[in-house]
């Protein structure tokens, strides 16, 4: 579904990604793990067009992502849940969700998508008229994921969904990712919480200093001595 090959990217004179190559197949859940500052968030931002790729190729279902303007990436079926949620804090939960369905094809099915999200996150239905900035951290994450699901995506990009959340809330967020997977969504997730994320994905890539260091199935990486020592503290 998604394929990156030899992607370089960065900010100004600083290069953050060096020749990244990765693939996400339909129906899969894939994680990108790595230390702070490895370029994980940059990778997500390059895929969703917020940062242009300097070289390399990116395709989504054989359509060229590099040539697609950033605001059209969502039309190809890619929805990005950004780092730190980035909700619209002075708007209600429902208005936040409404913005998720901004593109015409999602807007036409707004009611149906809204029901889908409310079924997935009943808490959001209860909080629909509350300002998003007043939600708890976990609820904000649900709202951010809900907002991304409103566009009816094929591929969901999750950037550090567990960051800044209490351990008990993190458990619930990972549980929700399992539920989302059951709804036939393909997921690419960036996480520092390596132990837990490897339990919900099929495969993972290890990103270090802007380059893919290794990759394998979740089981292989869980058993890998280096991964266990560096990222799981075992």
């Amino acid at each position: 579904m998604l394929a990156l090959s030899g992607v370089d990217a960065g900010y100004g004179t600083f290069q953050a990604l060096f020749g990244c190559t990765l693939e996400v197949r339909t129906g899969e859940a894939v994680a990108v793990i790595g230390p702070n500052g490895a370029g994980k968030t940059t990778l997500m931002r390059v895929i969703s067009g917020l940062i242009p790729a300097r070289s390399g190729t990116m395709t989504m279902q054989d359509l060229d992502l590099v040539a697609t303007p950033p605001h059209n990436i969502i039309r190809l079926g890619i929805a990005h849940v950004p780092e730190n949620r980035r909700l619209f804090p002075r708007m209600t939960v429902e208005d936040n969700l409404r913005m998720g369905a901004y593109i015409p094809m999602a807007r036409a099915r707004f009611g149906e998508r809204l029901e889908f999200v409310y079924d997935l996150f009943p808490r959001m239905r209860e909080r629909r008229n509350q300002l998003a900035g007043t939600l708890s951290g976990g609820e904000q994450q649900m709202c951010a994921i809900g907002r991304a699901l409103m566009s009816g995506p094929k591929l969901l990009l999750l950037d550090e969904p567990s960051a800044g959340l209490a351990p008990v809330v993190v458990e619930r967020i990972f549980e929700l990712i399992r539920v989302i997977r059951e709804r036939d969504l393909t997921v690419l997730i960036v996480e520092q919480n390596v132990q837990q994320v490897l339990q919900v994905v099929d495969r993972a890539y290890v990103l270090e200093a802007g380059s893919i260091r290794m990759s394998g199935s979740a089981q292989e990486l869980s058993d890998n001595e280096e991964v266990r020592r560096l990222y799981m503290g075992l």
């Binding site: 605001h71 969502i74 990005h80 980035r86 619209f88 804090p89 998720g100 907002r147």
Partner: protein, 324 residues
Amino acid sequence: MGRLDTGRILVTLAVIMFACLAYVPTILREGDIVFALTDVYLYETMINGLLLGGVLALLSLGLNLIFGVIDVVWICYAEVVMLGMYAIFYCHTVFGLPLIPSMMIGIALTAVLGYAIHYLVIRHLVNAQPINQLLATGGLLFFFQSAATLAFGIEFRNLGVSLGSFALIQDIYVSWARLAAFATAAVCVFALYLFLTRSYMGTAIRAISQDREIMTLMGVQQGRMYLMTSAIGGGLAGLAACLLVLQYDVHPFVGLSFGPIAFMICVLGGLGNMVGGFIAAFIFSELIALGGYHFDIEWGYVFAFVFFIVMMFVRPEGLLGKRS
């Protein structure tokens, strides 16, 4: 002390100050409280102040909308109003079109002008330093003034239309033009509120003012949204021009008489906060009206400016602005 408490104290203080400004000078002058409380001319002044507030609110509305969404202050906003006034004047008196179609042309032209200002100038400065944005829009101010002087001359011109006035009650007269301006401003503020809260486009405009980058992920073309907002802001300037051209002469420098005050209203209300701007407009208009009634109209402006400066010390983020 909580934020709400501060708000309440400020409202109470404002009411007391307003009552003092309204009645105390008359009591001191006449030595008679009953006279002050029943002074019909004072009440007429207050009503006129209220009506002026409507026009000022409308003037600040477009400026506030543009700042709230694009984060750029159009120093040249009043000059867009001035050009709108000229457009209406020429359509009506020179080309002989009826007043309402002339006004509609004026609004359309200022909307196009707002679009053009963004497309040609602001678009290139959206991510620039605020000082560069101010210099650019300040430059546009002088450009529009000079262009208007070259094109239309420096004569004061007026539409020659008078709507007259009517007696609200005995001895209290209200100008139709001011009442129309107030009513139009109120309807526009309400319509804009509905647009921003009920429509998809309006919700997107509010969203983009809270997080520019994320709206791109939602499929919104930021540049298009900014152009749309600039056109709406320009159109609102045109609407203000319709109301002002009925009451004031038009000349190339007419913007200077209400440009600074429109800007101050926006700042006092909290830049980008439309409700705050609306309240600030009425505070300013009453200060100007009451100052003018008790002393001279210039004193009214002095009071308004002093109040503004004091408020900038007390509450620099504006009445309803968020602390940063």
